[in-house]
């Protein structure tokens, strides 16, 4: 029993974190807000590939490192920390393992790992039919689209841009034209990846807010010295820190199963645990962050809203907390 990270895992996380801080900081994020498909937003993508991030779940034969899900989720939480406006989860943590598992039917794994091609994944998984069409982020730049359990090339889809609350999402409705290639459901991979990003977003929201309330004075004292602020932040930090181990544990279990879509049902309960806790924790952190920032958080002149909106997008993605609790309840025989 050892519930910690080994040196390699920590080294990868820190290297990616440093790269993101340097090449995907706040200025880049703000540029992505007005031009999500533009060169500024995407400049870090090849750097990430050079560092091997897109290939973390790919075998060495495809140019990957096969370091596995524990490393992947650590890296995704770094992407969440900086609110990276790129489809890293969709490409590296959904597209790659689906293609690996399906035997790379389109022969594109190498280009994904090399950072030359981009995968995105359409919504509509894990919720009752909302009457909306499937939508995918990074639609202007994606080369491959996962819809349901199939993969489509860019020429096999029709895209209609729609506005997300988070403009960096570059969202579009996706309609498939052809048959596509069967690659398997992205649900488990997507839910776990989103959970990891949400942990990073949640931690960043707590730490940004802690910094703000230490500095901001009202009534002659720092706002952060008021019990009402302290207690909200202590609760937010607690929920994020209790969600994080569930994400690492689900990643470890995924690695034990070899990330094979065939027997992925065995990890479903751990994935639901991770996603439910992470969605709830990140939503709480977002609400707390905004309330503790006061009006400052409510302006788009300040950067907080970029993290808030990402949480609002990812919390329901690949199944809300409620949906995942229900899935576990069904598994326990508590629902019809």
């Amino acid at each position: 029993m050892f519930f910690g990270f080994d040196e390699d895992q920590i080294a990868v996380k820190e290297a990616v974190g440093a790269l993101l801080d340097k090449r995907a900081g706040l200025t880049v994020l703000q540029q992505a807000w007005s031009d999500p498909a533009g060169p500024a937003a995407w400049a870090v993508w090849p750097d990430l590939a050079d560092m091997g991030v897109q290939g973390l779940l790919a075998p060495e034969s495809a140019g990957g490192s096969d370091l596995g899900w524990v490393t992947m989720t650590l890296v995704l939480s770094e992407a969440g920390r900086v609110a990276l406006p790129l489809p890293l989860a969709e490409t590296a943590a959904i597209g790659v393992p689906l293609l690996v598992s399906a035997g790379d039917p389109a022969g594109v794994l190498g280009s994904l790992v090399a950072g030359r091609a981009v995968v995105t994944v359409a919504s509509g998984i894990g919720e009752a039919d909302s009457g909306e069409r499937p939508r995918a982020p990074a639609a202007s730049r994606a080369d491959w689209f996962v819809l349901g359990d199939r993969l489509y090339g860019r020429d096999d889809v029709v895209l209609r841009p729609v506005a997300s609350v988070d403009a960096t999402r570059d969202l579009a409705e996706v309609e498939a034209l052809g048959e596509g290639l069967v690659v398997g459901s992205p649900l488990e991979f997507g839910a776990l990846a989103a959970a990891a990003v949400l942990v990073g977003l949640g931690r960043a929201l707590v730490s940004t807010t802690v910094d703000y309330v230490k500095d901001r004075h009202q009534f002659g004292v720092p706002v952060g010295s008021f019990q009402a602020v302290k207690h909200q932040l202590a609760d937010a930090a607690m929920h994020v820190e209790f969600a994080a181990p569930a994400v690492w544990a689900a990643a470890w279990e995924m690695d034990q199963r070899g990330g094979d879509v065939g027997n992925i049902g065995e990890v479903a309960r751990s994935v639901s645990l991770a996603k439910a806790l992470a969605s709830d924790a990140a939503e709480r952190a977002a609400r707390t962050a905004l309330q503790c920032h006061g009006a400052m958080g409510y302006t788009d002149d300040y950067h907080l809203h970029l993290w808030l909106k990402r949480v609002w997008c990812l919390s329901p993605a690949f199944g809300s907390a409620r949906w995942h609790r229900r899935r576990v309840g069904v598994d326990m025989g508590l629902h019809g």
Binding site: G220, F226, Q291, A295, Y298, W312
Partner: protein, 380 residues
């Protein structure tokens, strides 16, 4: 106890309903917090005024109908029910006007109120400063006496729709040696005066709803003072009571959201014809909390109609409606599943609801007020 409406009130309701049905713009106007939308809203406001629906509870001489508080509630209920546009004049009508009625000179009342009702003068609120948000007493903007008036210097922030308005009401420090809430004075300032600079900036939802207003030796006349030099705090508190109390958040606002939410829930049904039971429960909870708000308000208006003054229970009111508003919108987004992220009316409403616990005195401040003034707990 009598929870029925009088015949006169029912007639008033019928009149409001039929006028609104015939006049509310379709499709809905664009957001009033953009410059294009604001202009469209002004047309609507002036149309309201011309038909004497702009300020129903004001005396007829100022453009109102002399309607009772009950009728005002009825009008609001019908207004929200009809899906009529957000009132871009509300900061003047609901926040400044009660103060002018109470503290203004007859000259000020004549000069200010009719043009406000007609949406000729558009008023924004200059309360917050970069260093004084929830802590209003930390204001540092100052007014210095000059010949025939005052010179204003300083900066206001978070001024809702400041970039679109013509006038500002706000607090300035007239006694330079004063601290905290002493030595403040309430001023009425035209925004086209020399030395005023207004910079609009965006809200969370992307609308340009906020402004910073800079004052660089802006000269105003003696008549710009409302309620006496050095009396600014107590005059402002009256306005603040109004903002936190009944006026901004009539129950009809939330009942209208509940109606839309129930409709959304019915349309979000699974193949069996029903929404997720957990979300159905949240919808009913929302209906219950909106009903409780309506009944609490009826109780409060009964007391006001009997001569009571609004008290610290308005803090409870503000906590309740602001949390209710978030709950209703969160439930709607949950019903939307992962389509919640679309930048539509529910998401816009959700974003706006999140400002509820922040503006007009954060809910943390309101809980302090309720604990200290209603429950009698000791100050920290």
């Amino acid at each position: 106890m009598d929870l029925t409406w009088s015949r006169a009130d029912e007639d008033f309701r019928a009149g409001a309903r039929s006028w609104l049905e015939a006049n509310v713009p379709r499709p809905a106007l664009p957001s009033g917090d953009t410059s294009e939308g604001f202009a469209r809203h002004l047309e609507w406001e002036r149309h309201l005024f011309e038909n004497r629906w702009s300020v129903v509870s004001w005396p007829e001489e100022y453009g109102g109908r002399g309607a009772s508080l009950w009728q005002w509630l009825i009008f609001e209920e019908e207004y929200y029910r009809a899906g009529a546009p957000q009132r871009v004049t509300q900061n003047g009508i609901f926040l400044l006007a009660p103060t002018v009625f109470e503290f203004g000179t007859p000259e000020q009342q004549q000069r200010i109120l009719p043009r406000m009702a007609a949406a000729e003068d558009l008023w924004c609120q200059g309360w917050s400063e970069p260093g004084a948000g929830s802590d209003l007493a930390g204001i540092t903007s100052r007014a210095e006496p000059v010949d025939g008036g005052w010179a204003l210097t300083g900066q206001k922030i978070w001024t809702t729709r400041g970039a679109f308005c013509t006038h500002l009401f706000g607090l300035f420090r007239t006694d330079p040696d004063s601290t905290r809430h002493r030595g403040l004075t309430y001023f009425l300032v035209p925004l086209d005066a020399p030395g005023v600079t207004v910079r609009g900036f965006g809200r969370l939802d992307g609308d340009e709803g906020f402004a910073e207003v800079f004052f660089d030796g802006v000269v105003v006349a003696e008549e710009a003072v409302l309620g006496g030099v050095g009396q600014g705090w107590s005059v402002a508190m009256a306005t603040t009571g109004s903002e936190r109390g009944l006026t901004l958040r009539s129950p009809g606002r939330f009942s209208a959201v509940v109606t839309r939410l129930v409709d959304l829930a019915r349309r979000s049904a699974d193949p069996g014809g029903h929404p997720d039971p957990l979300l159905a429960d949240q919808v009913v909870r929302g209906w219950m909390e909106a009903e409780a708000y309506r009944l609490f308000t009826l109780q409060a208006v009964t007391a006001l109609a009997g001569g009571a003054r609004p008290g610290a229970e308005s803090s409870l009111n503000k906590i309740w409606w602001s949390e209710l508003d978030i709950h209703l919108h969160e439930t709607a987004l949950a019903l939307r599943g992962d389509a919640a992220e679309l930048d539509d009316a529910w998401m816009r409403g959700f974003e706006f609801s999140l400002s509820g616990p922040i503006y007009a005195g954060t809910n943390e401040i309101q809980r302090n007020i309720a604990a200290e003034r209603l429950l009698g707990l000791p100050r920290s």
